[in-house]
Amino acid sequence: MYFQVQFVASVSAEEFTLLSSCFPRSCTFYLVLCINLFLFFLLAQESWVGVLYFQIHFVLLVSRQGKVRLTKWYSPYTQKERSKVIRELSGVILNRGPKLCNFIEWRGYKVVYKRYASLYFCMCIDEADNELEVLEIIHHYVEILDRYFGSVCELDLIFNFHKAYYILDELLIAGELQESSKKTVARIISAQDQLVEAAKEEASSISNIIAQATK
């Protein structure tokens, strides 16, 4: 929090110098104005800086070769930023030794990663969040995947990445853990799958699908 304030202060100071360099120096009016604005920003900033949100910013599955297996972005990133993030992070994470901690500090965020066989699961969180918890969320996800695919392997995720997405959607929503019970997640996924089976059998009949689902 404190750093944010400091950051704001510095930004406005920069703006301030910028402004003051644009104007003739005798224009004290502007400067007074600037200072007031600056103070105002400082105060305004301080009043809402107290609010801290914890959330997962993105989930990333990368293979040991740096190939992307799954990405889910909860905070807005452009396609360009995404590739950059992936490149940067896989560069750092893949090169880390096995004994080191599972967290890295990265651009003011923290990335928690865990390696399962040849696959790295990464989640990006805020700096003040509980890293061990996120590590366990990763593990939780893997356990659910494992239960769903039956001893999951990378191949399952490669070919069924959309199912991995569905499962992730049941686990995390808008960057927050929505369900911590494996059973509940499994139940809703299987309900969806039954529906899919039904759809396969009687693809034309919508009423049947609904009947199946609400049964």
Partner: protein, 944 residues
């Protein structure tokens, strides 16, 4: 091999569960899996994009085919390529009645689009319809999309339905509806402010999953407004108690812990609610104590809860018992072999240190180990801890270490951070000014382009203002040493721009001040700078102004000025510069050279950068003049609004009075106008446009007399004034003529001051109190560090300081310093000595030698003058490690012994290789996925 491949293919197909992917898709995935390079992958994807573009345009694509195309698009997008050509098809698919297709459509749009995408508007209607669907799975799919895609404008469109869904029969829907509301709240708090009570109600939902999800929005709400949720403390404590007593369904257990994620969320909320609230804190003592007892520290999740407890305790007002528990948990973390736990331990230590300062003391060795750990993350965390522990007695060692680390890393983001921390610590705790300047030089040299410009201005101000004492000698000495160090550094190649600016400014201002260096020497150096960094206009500008100052000082002291040839050529070059700023500076310099000494002196007085200038912003000193002008027939001032019709009058007025309205009034306005749209050239003369806004911000004190006299005193000066203003960068202003330059300077000063104050009040208020009492316990560690690692450098810098100033010079640049620092200095002596004794005795035998040494060290360094036996002290100091290593070793071995017991269990045990897993592995291999060879059982093992 070929056979294996076919089996693999079949297996892969089998695991699709018949989802109908075609061979093409499997081939695509496979070929990407097999691609050996990024370029190859890109090529495959690009050709796939071509194929898809064509196929999507075909008329009457069967729906199942379309679904597959969409999934292929998702795949392409996931690989980082642009699939935007197909977004519209995904959007169309959400309209489909078939749930299977709809779900695929929703998945694709949530992955493709973000909330501000143009296509969102096409989906909102579908979402609305689906939210009303009878099929809860449809509703769930729509809610997933709501959580991702609805933005502030579209919230009202779906809000009523989402609120209705809070009472849906299926808990999965309720849960998602809550998460959706939570997201709305984040996007636009006002849109759901009337629904806040719903969250409270949902806390009592019969389904624990819904309750758990409700904690997310409640956390946000509480962090915004703690006071209005105080009544919930008891409910949260009750829930947590029930959770820990395993009242929740078994399905929420995770690794034998009852609903740990809910526990953690609750702890986070409780920390918010009871921070600084004694009675609320007391309600939590019981359950927190229980948690410490119940948490299984051999599992990761148990440790996660323990860590959350520590965080919670660091926020609330803890009981001594809880602090003890927390300290114990931390020491377990620190002693563990796992880097993760060490990391958490360091973090916890940083949190608890605010409350109970003697915790760090027991772990000094662990901390130093972490500092030397090859793991970068751990190292950074430890630096963060050190940063929190810094005080005036250990600042040198810590900052030295930080700078060493800063130099060694390439990560700009972190470099910036650590540089700013160095600066902050140096500003706050600098033992001497020389040291401060040295540190600043280092920071600028290695991270110059990353530090905030404010830091540079602070440094310049510090050098200019001296240190708040009336000791001109010391100030001059400092300036001289700064000048000397800069003259040394200046010839190094590739200095950061900001640093060069500081150097140029200081050289200009003080280069010739004490006569040690000749003007031509300094100006030669400055010309070199301008030449060497010819692409950097800012630096050039600084250099030219510095030149101007040097010549001005020469002229003012009636010495003859010979402009160096290279200087002359520089000026000539700049006279034709494309940058108006540089051009103007050059012209000014040229003009200045032609002036006589008296005039020059009043333009650029020596060492006047700190003079405050008061500004009369009402221009009341002009009243008499205006009166006179009006009496002699001039038009009175017409405000902008009135003037809109009467342009002629003003022009009249302008032409009539032009020559007489005096240069300053004219100039004043002419420069002011560019910012707001210029109403008319003529009106510019007359204070017009920005006036109203100024009046609304009345702040600057008014002093008529000074500015009047100044203005009257020199015509020439005024002219130059107007000119000079143009380039006003705050740092120069200080040096140039008092009347023109100082307004910004003063303003700048206030801004920095005020924000320094703000920062200090937010930051130092909390550490300050603890710093004082913390003294005793960090010092031994510092000593070890100092002795074992930095014995040389720290002792030298220390003796340096002693000899130069004979004690601390407390006052620093920032305005609040004089008040706080001097107070701090005298205190430590008794404080430390008092503290030393008890801690020394209470502490374990292993750390005793440190204590004693520290006592010695502290008393001698704190009573200021004792420069004589500094070296002697250090030699005893240096022997410290020898004495202590034995105890250190024993302690370490103890640690590892104890930790070995606990943490080996937590290491995952490798299960037996099942046949199935082997098969899969083989498959993976030949599909080009390249699993790691050492662990063929893949996930199963880790999970088994």
């Amino acid at each position: 091999m070929e056979q294996l491949k076919t089996i693999g293919r079949e297996l892969a197909m089998g695991s699709q569960g018949g989802f109908g992917q075609s061979k093409e898709f499997l081939d695509l995935v496979k070929s990407i899996g097999e691609s050996r390079s990024k370029a190859e992958e890109d090529r495959i994807v690009l050709s796939e994009i071509d194929i898809l573009k064509r196929k999507l345009l075909e008329p009457d694509v069967p729906k199942r085919k379309m679904k597959e195309y969409i999934i292929r698009l998702v795949y392409i997008e996931m690989l980082g390529h642009d699939a935007s050509f197909g977004y519209i098809h995904a959007v169309k698919m959400t309209h489909d009645d078939n749930l299977l297709l709809k779900r695929t459509g929703y998945l694709a749009v949530t992955l493709f689009l973000d909330e501000d995408h143009d296509l969102i508007i096409l989906i909102v209607n579908t979402i609305q319809k689906d939210l009303r669907s009878d099929n809860y799975l449809v509703v769930c799919a729509a809610l997933n999309a709501v959580c991702r895609l609805i933005n502030e404008e579209t919230i009202p469109a779906v809000l009523p339905q989402v609120v209705d869904l809070l009472n849906h029969g299926k808990e999965a829907v309720r849960k998602k509806a809550i998460m959706a509301l939570h997201r709305f709240h984040r996007k636009s708090p006002s849109s759901v402010s009337h629904l806040v009570s719903n969250f409270r109600r949902k806390l009592c939902d019969s389904d624990p999953g819904v309750m758990g999800a409700t904690l997310c929005p409640l956390f946000d709400l509480i962090s915004e407004d703690v006071a209005s949720y105080k009544d919930l403390v008891s409910s949260f404590v009750g829930i947590l108690k029930q959770v820990t007593e395993r009242k929740l369904p078994k399905s929420y257990d995770y690794h034998q812990m009852p609903a740990p994620f809910i526990q953690i969320k609750l702890l986070k909320i409780m920390a918010l609610l009871s921070s600084g609230d004694k009675s609320a804190s007391e309600m939590m003592y019981m359950v927190l104590g229980d948690l410490f007892r119940k948490c299984d520290s051999s599992t990761n999740i148990g440790n996660a809860i323990l860590y959350e407890c520590i965080r919670c305790i660091s926020c609330i007002i803890p009981s001594p018992k809880l602090l003890e528990d927390a300290a114990e948990a931390i020491s377990k973390f620190l002693k563990s072999d796992s880097h993760n736990l060490k990391y958490m331990g360091i973090d916890g230590l940083g949190r608890l240190i605010k409350i109970s300062s003697d915790i760090a003391e027991q772990h000094q060795l662990a901390v130093i180990d972490c500092l030397e750990d090859p793991d970068d993350t751990l190292k950074r965390k430890t630096f963060e801890l050190l940063y929190k522990m810094t005080k005036s007695s250990n600042v040198e060692v810590i900052v030295d270490r930080m700078i060493d680390y800063m130099i060694s890393i390439n990560d700009n983001h972190y470099k910036t951070e650590i540089a700013s921390r160095c600066v902050e610590l140096a500003e706050q705790f600098a033992p001497s000014n020389q040291w401060f300047i040295q540190i600043m030089n280092k920071v600028f040299e290695h991270a110059g382009d990353l530090v905030n410009i404010k830091v540079a201005h602070n440094l310049m101000r510090l050098i200019a203002e001296g240190f708040g004492e009336d000791d001109d000698d010391a100030d001059n000495k400092l300036r001289l040493s700064a000048v000397e160090s800069y003259l040394q550094i200046i010839s190094e190649p590739k200095l950061p721009s900001l640093f060069l600016q500081v150097i140029s400014w200081v050289l200009g201002e003080y280069g010739t001040a004490d006569g040690k260096y000749s003007a031509s020497y300094i100006s030669g150096k400055l010309c070199d700078v301008a030449d060497a960094y010819s692409s950097d206009e800012t630096v050039k500008g600084y250099a030219v102004t510095a030149l101007m100052k040097i010549y001005a000082f020469e002229i003012a002291s009636w010495r003859k000025v010979d402009v160096l040839p290279e200087c002359q050529s520089l000026i000539e070059e700049l006279l034709a510069s494309h940058s108006t700023d540089l051009q103007q500076r050059a012209y000014e310099l040229q003009a200045l050279l032609a002036l006589d000494a008296r005039a020059v002196e009043s333009i650029l007085p020596l060492d006047a950068s700190c003079e405050d200038i008061e500004v009369d912003k009402d221009l009341s000193f002009l009243n008499g003049y205006i009166q006179q002008a009006i009496e002699s027939g001039a038009q009175p001032y017409v405000s902008e609004r009135e003037r809109s019709g009467g342009m002629f009058e003003t022009t009249d007025y302008h032409s009539q009075d032009h020559h007489e309205v005096t240069s300053h009034a004219l100039r004043f306005e002419a420069y002011e106008l560019p910012k707001p749209s210029v109403p008319s050239q003529a009106s510019a003369a007359l204070v017009p446009v920005p006036e109203p806004s100024y009046y609304s911000e009345p702040h600057q004190p008014i002093s008529t007399s000074s500015s009047v006299s100044e203005r009257e005193s020199s015509e020439i000066k005024l002219r130059l004034d107007g000119v000079k203003q143009k380039w006003g960068r705050p740092s120069y202003q200080s040096s140039t003529s008092a009347s023109s330059s100082t307004p910004p300077q003063a303003a700048n000063g206030t801004s920095i001051r005020s924000d320094g104050g703000g920062v200090a009040s937010s930051s130092s208020s909390k550490p300050r109190s603890s710093y004082e009492s913390k003294k005793p316990e960090i010092d031994p560690e510092k000593q070890r560090l100092a002795a074992s690692l930095f014995g040389g450098s720290s002792s030298s810098s220390r003796s340096d300081r002693k000899s130069s100033s004979g004690g601390h010079k407390p006052a620093k640049g920032t305005a609040n310093k004089p008040a706080t620092v001097p107070k701090e200095n005298p205190i430590p002596v008794p404080d430390l000595l008092d503290f030393d004794e008890p801690t020394g005795t209470s502490d374990v035998a292993a750390t005793d030698p440190f204590k004693e040494l520290e006592g010695l060290m502290e008393s001698s360094s704190q009573d200021g003058g004792g420069s004589t036996d500094v070296m002697g002290l250090y030699s005893t100091d240096a022997s410290a490690p020898v004495k202590t290593t034995t105890s250190v070793d024993s302690l370490l071995s103890e640690l590892s012994d104890s930790s070995r017991g606990t943490y080996h269990q937590s290491q995952t045990t490798k299960g037996p290789n099942s046949k199935e897993a082997l098969e899969k592995d083989a498959l993976v291999r030949q599909m080009g996925v390249n699993p790691t060879s050492q662990n063929p059982t893949l996930f199963k093992d880790l999970l088994g």
